[in-house]
């Protein structure tokens, strides 16, 4: 349904995630995200005060591992798959500036 989310909202979130959306993508996202929000609005309308909030749907808590070192990945193999690497490190474009 229209009105739950605007073109500007979608453009803003896309910018934060550095997604390049063209106007058609934005329209599609507005429609799809609007439908998702509509579903949440249905849930919102229910009387749920007595229901404990849940962080995730699995009936699990306290999944822990021991503090024991395991094998790391091979650095050269990993870096070979990166667009650019220098001296054992990943090379990336400038971080701030043109908002790339």
């Amino acid at each position: 349904m229209a009105g739950r989310i605007t073109d500007d909202d979608v453009a803003h979130v896309a910018r934060l995630a550095r997604l390049g959306l063209d106007p058609d993508d934005v329209q599609r996202a507005v429609a799809e995200l609007g439908a998702v929000l509509e579903h949440f609005a249905d849930i919102d309308a229910l009387e749920l005060d007595a229901v404990e909030p849940m962080a995730q749907p699995y009936p699990l808590t306290n999944v822990l591992r021991e503090d024991v070192v395991t094998t790391s990945l091979d650095r050269d193999e990993v870096l070979a798959q990166a667009p650019d690497a220098v001296d054992g490190r990943f090379a990336v474009p400038p971080i701030l500036g043109d908002g790339a």
Binding site: L16, V63, R65, D67, V68, S72, P94, I95, L96
Partner: protein
């Protein structure tokens, strides 16, 4: 009582966010080693790199150390949830950091400063560290660089972020809070908390207001690399804000970067991107729900905290708890050693001074047996050796890792002078230095130096300077 900072009729309000790297073997959510100083990108795995399908699993030791920090700060340890903090930055390859948001591990604690002031601790939560960026070209800072190189060894290292309440009212108080917090973290074995190496990092939220007014707009200061810089940065930032307000402008909420070189803070991030992190619970991680028994277990394993240890050492030595020797010796973890020396019957205050002065490099368990230091202190107390000789013998003990101080003294030819010998030496000095003696008798205290010097020289350093001074004082009156 720490004095409140004021400037042009304004006061400051400061809250601190302290990040500490936990002393675990592995990362928070994966088994790569948590180790500083290795070659870049050797401690990486699918979780660290955020590869598709990789699943994080919580490190039990990190949770225990996190709870230990909370309990040491008097927090409530509670059921907690991990959340994704979303932002786009290459040192965080998943494009989010796993942190805790509305349900942190620890809430509602406090930290007491030496003057009794209590600074509230709002929360202490677990989160993962980011990778390390090195910016190329330009000034080496972020702006104007031509690109960055990323090392992910640090990415995923367990951190606890300790957030104080805005209870801090001066740069001195901020420094003391951080120093005390650091002492606690080291004492409980949670972290080595070294600001210079980045295992402890402090961000300061600073605002100013006229007394009685509501809170002003705050700025967050980053890039503070020492306790000393922290005080300078807070002071400079508060003055900047006061200048803005008195000039009729207003403070803009922003993150600012401390520049040690020019002693100022500089705007860092553009405002539109700031603080829009879109937190939500991480669906890959389940809640951690501590049982009451587990919390009791962690609490009962806590060692005595620095404030308590300083108080105990101060009582033992008959000095104030905030004397430098007490602070230093407790920080080095050598207070138990001093107490052990005292159990052998030695004067604890003298032992404290020797440990503080000479044991800097010897760690919490010095290899000089406590009984040997006790024997040396006893010789010094009885006048068998002078303070200067005791220092020399202490050096011998440290070099040899212990020994019989009496035998070492004999080897060096240190013999106690009996009183008659000393009196004779003092008489000789007075006879040899009549001018000095006259001046000294006329009330010129400085002239005593020449007389003491004469005795020391004549005795080839064997005389006890303090005893010589005492003799001269009594002779004058």
């Amino acid at each position: 009582m720490t004095e409140r900072w004021t400037y042009e009729g304004f006061e400051m309000v400061v809250g601190l966010e302290v990040h500490v790297e936990l002393d675990t073997a592995t990362k928070l959510f994966s088994g790569s080693a948590n180790r500083f100083g290795d070659d870049p990108n050797v401690h990486i795995d699918p979780v660290t790199l955020g590869l598709p399908g990789a699943l994080p699993v919580l490190n039990a030791r990190a949770v225990e150390l996190g709870a230990r920090i909370g309990l040491a700060l008097g927090c409530t340890v509670q059921a907690c949830v991990f959340a994704r903090k979303n932002y786009f930055y290459p040192d965080m390859p998943k494009a989010y950091q796993i942190s805790q948001y509305d349900k942190p591990l620890n809430i509602d604690g406090r930290l007491a400063l030496s003057d009794g002031t209590v600074i509230g601790v709002e929360r202490a939560h677990l989160e993962e560290d980011t990778g390390k960026s090195t910016h190329l070209g330009g000034s080496g800072r972020i702006h104007g660089s031509e690109g960055s190189l990323i090392d992910f060894n640090r990415a995923g290292v367990p951190l606890v972020e300790i957030v104080s309440r805005p209870d801090i009212v001066s740069p001195d108080q901020a420094r003391e809070y951080v120093s005390e917090l650091r002492a606690i973290l080291v004492a409980i074995g949670a972290s080595d908390a070294r600001m210079e190496e980045g295992s402890m990092r402090v961000d300061a939220n600073v605002s100013v207001r006229r007394p009685g007014e509501p809170l002003g707009t705050r700025c967050e200061i980053k890039n503070v690399n020492s306790v000393r810089s922290l005080g300078r940065a807070i002071d400079a930032e508060a003055r900047r804000q006061v200048a803005l307000i008195t000039a009729g402008e207003s403070v803009v909420q922003q993150t600012r970067h401390w520049d040690e070189g020019d002693g100022r803070t500089h705007a860092l991030r553009s405002k539109e991107d700031a603080d829009d992190y879109r937190y939500f619970p991480d669906p890959d991680l389940v809640p951690f729900v501590p049982s009451a028994e587990w919390i009791d277990e962690v609490r009962s394993a806590l060692p005595p905290l620095p404030a308590k240890r300083r108080a105990a050492l101060a009582v033992l030595c008959g000095v104030a708890a905030d004397t430098e020797a007490v602070m230093t010796v407790v920080e080095r973890g050598q207070d138990a050693y001093v107490a052990e020396v005292a159990t052998h019957g030695a004067d604890a205050a003298r032992a404290l001074v020797h440990v503080k002065e000479a044991f800097a490099e010897l760690g919490a368990r010095p290899r000089v047996p406590a009984s040997d230091l006790a024997a040396l202190v006893a010789m010094e107390s009885s006048g068998a050796v002078t303070a200067t000789q005791a220092k020399t013998l202490l050096g011998d003990l440290i070099d040899a890792g212990g020994g019989d101080p009496a035998a070492l003294a004999a080897q060096r030819g240190f013999e106690a002078m009996d009183d008659g010998e000393l009196v004779a030496l003092v008489d000789a000095a007075i006879a040899a230095e009549p001018d000095a003696w006259q001046k000294y008798c006329a009330g010129e205290d400085k002239a005593m130096g020449a007389l003491v010097g004469h005795v020391m020289k004549a005795s080839r350093g064997q005389a006890d300077g303090k005893a010589v001074s005492a003799l001269l004082v009594s002779r004058r009156s």
